[in-house]
Symmetry: C2
Subunit: 436 residues, 2 copies
């Protein structure tokens, strides 16, 4: 599919349009089929993710992708990963290639506790860890075991589009809470809770990415962290803390996660995707002990167990590898890429555009003047040879957005500069059209 095809076939819903010409025919076939009556109510809430769709486009040769939040793997010692995988299969093949326990292997859960200790969660027990098929599936499980249709999950505005898709698949009412440059605003969280409770809503979870929020790059200030948990706790709302980027703080000193001092009130989600490899699809949840059993049984009901092979490879690799040194190197890589992006934005973007200055993570969040819809700009950007994710993807609200997410994580400084250079005229003409 060319970008012309894409631009020519724009239906109403974000994301769908990107593979639309075949889908339209499919939807017609589906709507007229007698099986249409079989879908569950929740099936209608399961949507295409704009990020995943742009993922398909962004692997086209020649395009600079500032879209996907992919980690940089270029400094990963592939020979050592390969040797580890080979050794695991030869020496432990009868374990690695068989079924394992539903919680994950004890050795990996112990390694996970060491990793969490590095970022400030001290003394966590392997008994409270569930290894999951990526942290995405931990979010799926949380929604599954806590949310009835119509229950409320509070989220940052903006927040991770994959979590929105997961929650909506369980017919959850997702309610945004405002952020400022220091992250979630406690006062707004309180007032939003009060309003929703006054409406008789059952609020089950606060889903938050406190460090280097996806997509905004904003970090919840240290002095707000306990207050956010306390507010939730006072209203019997669980905190679902998603922290894939926490160890990738540029200055090398991760802020203590919300979970650190709140073992009973926070379900913590971690991931190997950003600190090692997304291709192994391994994440984890650190679950309050009184919630652990139902959490792990729900995980088991979906996948029986996480991939034993990948669990053994990751465990052995981390044991053989200076992963702390690698993380330090990764932080330097991402810091350099972030700087390259901020400099390129300052050089090429019009003065009407503003953007965040993240302390870590993968993303810069750009705000254009109000009234500009960044969605159609994506098609112009593809024409210009660059991809980003329009802001509307990252909010449960309907309507347009004048924001856009730029990922600096998976591309070199040269590619970043070239991508921003290509994107700038698209942005400038939108700003000028708005001005004029």
């Amino acid at each position: 599919m060319t970008s012309q095809d894409i631009a020519a076939s724009r239906p109403a819903e974000l994301g769908d349009e990107l593979t639309a010409e075949t889908q339209t025919a499919l939807e017609r076939a589906q709507a007229s089929h007698r099986h249409e009556a079989l879908f569950s109510e929740r099936a209608y809430n399961i949507k295409q993710s704009a990020v995943r769709d742009v993922f398909d486009i962004s692997i086209q040769p020649g395009l600079v992708s500032l879209a996907g939040g992919s980690p940089s793997l270029s400094k990963l010692p592939l020979e050592l990963v390969a040797e580890t995988a080979s050794r695991v299969i030869v020496e432990h093949g009868m374990e690695a290639l068989h079924y394992g326990g539903g919680k994950g292997t004890l050795a990996l859960r112990e390694l996970i506790c060491e990793i969490m200790a590095e970022e400030g969660i001290v003394g966590a027990s392997a008994e409270d860890v569930v290894v999951t098929t990526g942290s995405q599936s931990a979010q799926d499980i949380a929604a599954k075991i806590f949310c009835n249709p119509g229950d409320v999950v509070l989220v940052e505005d903006p927040t991770y589009v994959g979590a929105l898709n997961t929650f909506e698949a369980y017919q959850v009412q997702v309610e945004p809470v405002f952020m400022d440059d220091d992250g979630l605003i406690p006062e707004h969280l309180e007032s939003r809770i009060a309003e929703l409770e006054a409406e008789g809503k059952r609020i089950k979870l606060l889903y938050t990415i406190p460090s280097f929020n996806n997509p905004s790059g904003i970090t919840l200030a240290a002095e707000r962290r306990q207050r956010i948990v306390d507010i939730c706790s006072a209203h019997n709302i669980l905190v679902l803390e998603d922290n894939p980027y926490g160890m990738l703080r540029f200055d090398g000193h991760p802020l203590p996660p919300l979970r650190a001092d709140n073992p009973d009130d926070v379900i913590y989600c971690g991931s190997f995707s950003k600190i090692f490899s997304p291709g192994v699809r391994l994440g984890w949840a650190l679950v309050p002990r009184h919630l652990y059993r139902r959490f792990y049984l729900a995980a088991e009901a979906v996948v029986l167990c996480p991939s034993t092979l990948n669990q053994l490879i990751v465990t052995e690799f981390f044991r053989a590898f200076d992963w702390r040194g690698y993380l330090a190197e990764s932080r330097a890589t991402y810091a350099e890429r972030c700087s390259a992006m901020l400099e390129a934005l300052a050089e090429h973007f019009p003065p009407e555009a503003t953007w965040t200055t993240p302390d870590g993570g993968f993303f810069v969040w750009v705000t254009l003047p109000e009234g500009i819809d960044t969605y159609p700009l994506l098609y112009q950007a593809i024409e210009a040879g660059v991809v980003f994710i329009p802001g509307a993807a990252f909010t449960p609200s309907d309507g347009t957005s004048s924001k856009l997410r730029l990922a600096f994580s998976g591309v070199t400084p040269e590619q970043i500069r070239e991508g921003v250079r290509r994107l700038a005229p698209v942005v400038r003409s939108a700003v000028e059209a708005r001005r004029g």
Copy 2:
């Protein structure tokens, strides 16, 4: 935990007891915790799987496990698997260790079509395949997108306990349909549908394992296959065909799956767990085209994508390996093990016991005289050094069962003989107690 501990702490629900002493304390803590109010209604339907629990016990040294349905991996060429994994990482690491598409890689989906062609599904398109994290997760997705709470899923009686857990997690009403030695009884399927429709129930799916049913080993006769699909189709019920063992027919000639001639009415689930390795956690669904999009989006919302690393390893391994020859060898292995079990049963078990004679797969299903509850026998069996799965696990009905599942797949003929020899006195004394 020792088997004494287990026997001393028997609560009402199957499976729970097996790790009961810690769980009782946990359940108390949970029940009294303010977070108890946060669980969704479906959370209360998520249960411990007896199979998974016995899995934990059966890895104790010295026990002969006739419990878990594990494949035999002893003839797998580990060196070749290791070389393949190593080569994939060194040569394709940037793809293997990154995110992939939500449908799975095209190369693996094409391989899957070749595999399905071997068992009689000819001409399937890779465009209709979704690679899943084990076929268990394909069942989860089917339940998610088709079943509202209270909807009915029809299942064979007995059926796979993992599927029961998955369906019950979505508050599905699971309704058993009787089998005889030729599998599902069409007349009973029809009358059960009529009864349920008369009650106003919405029947969404028939979940069936037509070849070498887990746990019974029974195969749906060729002449009944189309009739079963036609009955469902006439009532707008989708068939969810689970066929992990289909290629493991001892005589080397798989029966055509229900899907073969019914591309529009059957969702077919396949798996690499039994023909290669459960540790890679890769299965697939072949989905009618008009249902494909919602199916794959729901899969994506849970895991983003199946493990890219494992997909590449499996694809490259199958391309480098005489997998058809390996399957022939596997069939011979399982046939030999099945024979060893049938012979040992004939030699050691009392005449009051009967059992199935499977044509393939992993299991023999033993029936003891009515009135015997095989559940307490498990504790005596553990004392005697052998593990099986009590029959009650495999039916949605409450109440006791005089059946038990014996798996011959993952143990040698010597272990099988020893296991049956250990189990026989337990069975004999139960039969004698019943007789006396």
